[in-house]
Structure formats: C-alpha cells, structure tokens
C-alpha cells in the first residue's frame, strides 16, 4: 500500500509539473557563401531554454539533440555478389529523398538520452533517421544490410556525422554545438532541428535553417553553363583549341 502510494506520488511528480519550456535557437550564419577558396565550414548552433515562471527550475537534467539535414536526393545502394568467377552488382535498393549530408550532435550519448521508441519517433540520431520506414519501400524491421551499408559508407565519407558529446551547456539554460560542414557537402538548403528532452521525455523542438550558396565567379559560371549551354560548350571548345595552339607556339622548336 505504501509502495503503491509512493509510486503514485512519483508518477504524479513526473506528469504534473506542466513544464512549458520553449527553445530559442540561433545559428552562426544563415547563408554561407562559397567562393573559390571555400574548403568547408563550421556551423555553430546556439540555444537557450526558457522556462515559464511556474515550473520549477531544474538544472542539469536537460538533454539537447541538434540535427542538421542537407538537401535531399534519391539514391541507390548496390551490392556486389559473385556470379561464377566475376563480381557484379546484383541486388540494389532505391532510397527516396535521403539528406546528402546529416550531422547529429547531442549532450549525451543518444541511447542514454531517450529509449529506442522515442528516438525512432523523433528521428533522433543517424540510426533513427536512416531506419525511418518512409525512406525506402522495403520493411525497416530487423537488420537491413542496405540501410547499414548506406550509413557506414556515408560515415566513411564524412557526410554523416554523429557527435555524442557535441552539445555543450554553457550554463543551465544555454547551450552551444559546433558541427563541421565538410567541403563535399552539397550546395542547397540545410535544415537545423533542435530537440529538448528531459529524462527521456521530449519537451520542445525548434527548427532553423541556412543556405549554402555559390557567389560571385562560381555562381556566374554555373549560371552560364546552365542558361547558355551551347555558348558555354563552344567557349570550352575555343578555349581548348586556343590553348593547344598557344602551346605549339610557345614550344615551337623547328
């Protein structure tokens, strides 16, 4: 009976404090310009947790997960298999709309921060994002070699990043995360999502975003190649002919 009361009290404690935390999130930039010396960048995500007056001030047990998703593309994962003496691409799995770049930073290792069901539901962590059922037609139950291959290959390329201690609390309600944007990360719009949890319970989420864009010469060159492709092609041909002729003049011996 006393145990039951204690349990009821615990449960009440867990539910009743109607915590109304809100998140405020800022990025170190909203638009990253690519110039000819661009070789990757680093994104800083700043955030503050605002509590409303009634809720008890509880420090130290907030958890934060920062997820950056790059532009989405459809892709195919292929598996080589032996056919007689030769190895060929035999089986393949198509994925629709997978972010080409993914970075996840958290204040603690993800499995300590929320249970598997919550992580799956909120898409917290690379496993949960790539394991999401809507990514490909095949079932996401059990171990899927294609999904794990995608995860492994992208991590090796540095395009999928997971930082289990990447979110740092500067004070009880202010945090910061630094995530790298490698040079190979594609041009386009990036979504930043910050999730706040406490004791495995999601409290709030907040979205932000930034754009990675070509500027100046790079942007004009790309536009020229796209909008004036016949002229661009002829210009490339003229360039090749001209430099070939120039070389023969420079190196002329006879």
């Amino acid at each position: 009976m006393r145990a039951g009361l204690a349990l009821a009290a615990l449960l009440t404690l867990g539910v009743v404090p109607a915590r109304a935390e809100t998140l405020v999130v800022g990025l170190s930039f909203n638009r990253m310009a690519i110039n000819s010396t661009y070789a990757g960048a680093s994104v800083a995500v700043f955030g503050a947790i605002e509590r409303d007056g009634q809720s008890a001030a509880r420090s130290g047990d907030y958890d934060v997960v920062v997820t950056i998703r790059g532009p989405r593309r459809s892709l195919t994962v292929r598996e080589k298999d032996a056919l007689g003496p030769v190895w060929l691409n035999r089986r393949q799995r198509k994925f629709g709309e997978v972010p080409v770049f993914l970075a996840v930073a958290s204040s603690r290792p993800l499995d300590a921060l929320a249970d598997a069901a919550t992580r799956r539901r909120l898409r917290l962590g690379l496993d949960a994002i790539i394991g999401a059922p809507e990514l490909t037609l095949a079932s996401s139950e059990g171990e899927d070699p294609f999904r794990s291959a995608l995860l492994r290959l992208r991590k090796d390329e540095g395009l999928f990043i997971e930082r289990p201690a990447g979110v740092r609390f500067l004070s009880s309600g202010v945090f910061q995360a630094n995530l790298p944007l490698p040079a190979g990360a594609p041009v386009g719009s990036y979504e930043v999502e910050v999730a706040l949890l406490a004791g495995g319970t999601p409290l709030a989420t907040r979205a932000a975003g930034f754009d990675l864009v070509k500027t100046g010469f790079e942007q004009r060159m790309a536009a020229f190649a796209r909008d004036w492709s016949p002229v661009y092609g002829l210009a490339a041909a003229a360039l090749a002919l001209l430099s070939g002729w120039l070389a023969s003049v420079i190196f002329r011996r006879d």
């Binding site: 070789a39 459809s74 060929l88 290959l153 190649a225 092609g233 360039l239 090749a240 070389a247």
Partner: protein
C-alpha cells in the same frame, strides 16, 4: 592550394590536378593517344562526379591533340585524307554509341557492359600488341630480323571495292575496312567515355600498315575532332563541363604533352610498341582484377543525377 570547382561543386587541390594533367599529357604526347582511359578513372578516384569527369576530360584531350596536330602538320607527319575518312566514320560511330549507351542504361546493365568491354577490349588489344612486339624483339636479338613487308603483301580486306589512294601513308586500300574501323572506334569511345586512340593507333599500325611516322599525327587528327564534338555535346546535353577543372587540366596537359612528344621522337619503333602494349594491357588487367577479386566493400552508393 585548394580551389573550388563551380560545376563539380567541390574543392580540389590545384597541384594534384596539374600533376594529373601533366602525366596524362605526357602519355598522350608519347603515344599519340587521347589518354581519356587514364584521365577519367583518375578524376573519379579524386572524387569528381563521373558525369563531370567524363565530360570535362574531353577539353584537355582536345587541347593536347591540337598541339600534336599542329606539330605533325609542320613535320608533314599526318595523312589528312585518311584522317578525314576516319573522322567521318568516327562521328557516325559516336552517334550509334550514344544511342546504345542510353539503351543499356535503361536496361540497368551499364556497369557490367562497361567493365566487360574494358576488360575484353584492353586485354585483347594489349595482348596482341605485346606478343607481336615480343616476337619482334626476340628475332632481332637472335640476329634475324623479321622480313619487312613487301609491296604486294597486303591483307585481303585492303583489296575490297571502293579503293582509295592515300599517298602520304603509301596506301591504296578499300574505304570499307577503314570506315568500319572508325565506326567501331567511335562507338566504343562513346560507350566507354574514351577517345579510342589506343584502339586507333594499333589498328592503323597493324591492320592498315600505315607507316609509324604518320600514325600518331593521323590518330591525333581524328581524336581532335571527336573530342571537340563530344565536348560541345556534353556541355549542351548534360551541362557537365567544368571550365575551371578544364583550365587546370589543360595547363598541366600541354606541358606534359610537349615532353611526351619529344621523348617519343627518340624512341625506337619497337620500344614504342612494347610500351604502348604494356600500358593498354595494364589497364585491361586492372579491370579484370576489379571483376574477379572479391571486393572488400560489396556495397556502393549512387546518388541520382539531379540534372
């Protein structure tokens, strides 16, 4: 020193690319081949998207073959008449090849077709050339050089109808096998993303018996036209030509090609053929190893082209 490529959308090391351009230019100038079969895999290895690698490498090839053709013209080491026939057949073959490429891509078997064609083509051509050169060297060492060919000693296909005179190559042969050769080279080039010089040079040497001095210039003349057409078509159809990448590769390539050509002039004809045979065979064997050796990582990720 890093520079950002506007179309490939990635930063690359300028020095690495200059070196790559110079190396391929050297091989290209030495053997009178385009060098696309070396350049394309290396660019892809550096992380350049395949479509952009295939399209952009036509620019340095066009540039270095321009230099070679101009040099050959000055030395009168080119058969323009034979070259024009080859260009005509080659362009028709390229058209057929592009169509076949699209059909195989729809069928989903493009990778296999490319790997198998590289394997069979390169090992067959390389193996034939190597055995011939080795036999040549062997009989020379024993002091009994193989008898040189006599005037009437022509293969039967040279005497087919529609014969044409090619005075510069000392050739009086039917146009049919020449056009067929050019058609095949253009076709293979379009499917494999290569210029086809490595097929053209041995074929001119062995099948048509064109004198060695004229082979390189004539082959470069044909490569110049096919690579120029390919460059413009790739820019229009795929928008995959990266001008910054092209400029870097051209700069490296023109220097490399000069040294290659100079080095090639001091080379004995037998050594020349032996080296070319070894190079072609190596590339073929590399594809064989890829096909036969169990891969460490059986999985691969292909991102759909956005264009």
């Amino acid at each position: 020193m890093q520079i950002y490529l506007p179309i490939a959308e990635m930063p690359v090391s300028v020095l690495t690319l200059l070196g790559l351009g110079a190396l391929v230019g050297f091989v290209s100038g030495l053997f009178g081949i385009g060098g696309g079969f070396l350049m394309t895999p290396m660019l892809i290895f550096l992380g350049i998207p395949p479509a952009i690698a295939v399209a952009t490498q036509t620019a340095p090839i066009a540039a270095s073959s321009t230099t070679s053709v101009l040099a050959a013209l000055r030395r009168n080491a080119i058969d323009l008449r034979l070259g024009l026939v080859l260009v005509g057949g080659g362009l028709a073959g390229t058209g057929l090849g592009v169509w076949f490429f699209a059909a195989m891509r729809r069928a989903g078997q493009l990778d296999l077709v490319i790997a198998l064609s590289y394997l069979t083509l390169f090992t067959a051509v390389g193996g034939l050339m190597l055995t011939d050169s080795l036999r040549d060297l062997w009989s020379r060492r024993r002091g009994r050089p193989r008898p040189r060919r006599l005037g009437g000693d022509h293969p039967a296909y040279m005497a087919w109808p529609l014969r044409m005179r090619f005075p510069r190559s000392r050739l009086y042969a039917s146009v049919i096998p020449i056009l067929a050769l050019a058609l095949f080279v253009g076709f293979a080039g379009a499917v494999l993303g290569i210029g086809g010089g490595f097929i053209m040079v041995p074929a001119l040497l062995y099948l048509l018996r064109v004198p060695t001095g004229v082979v390189v210039g004539t082959s470069q003349f044909q490569i110049l036209w096919t690579s120029l057409v390919a460059l413009v078509l790739h820019a229009i159809q795929n928008q995959a030509v990266d001008m910054v990448l092209a400029v870097i590769l051209i700069t490296g390539g023109v220097f490399g090609a000069q040294f290659g050509a100079r080095f090639g002039r001091n080379l004995r004809s037998e050594t020349f053929r032996l080296l070319l045979a070894a190079l072609v065979l190596t590339v073929g064997l590399r594809f064989a190893i890829d096909l036969i050796v169990p891969p460490v990582e059986p999985f691969s990720v292909v991102v759909a082209e956005e264009r």
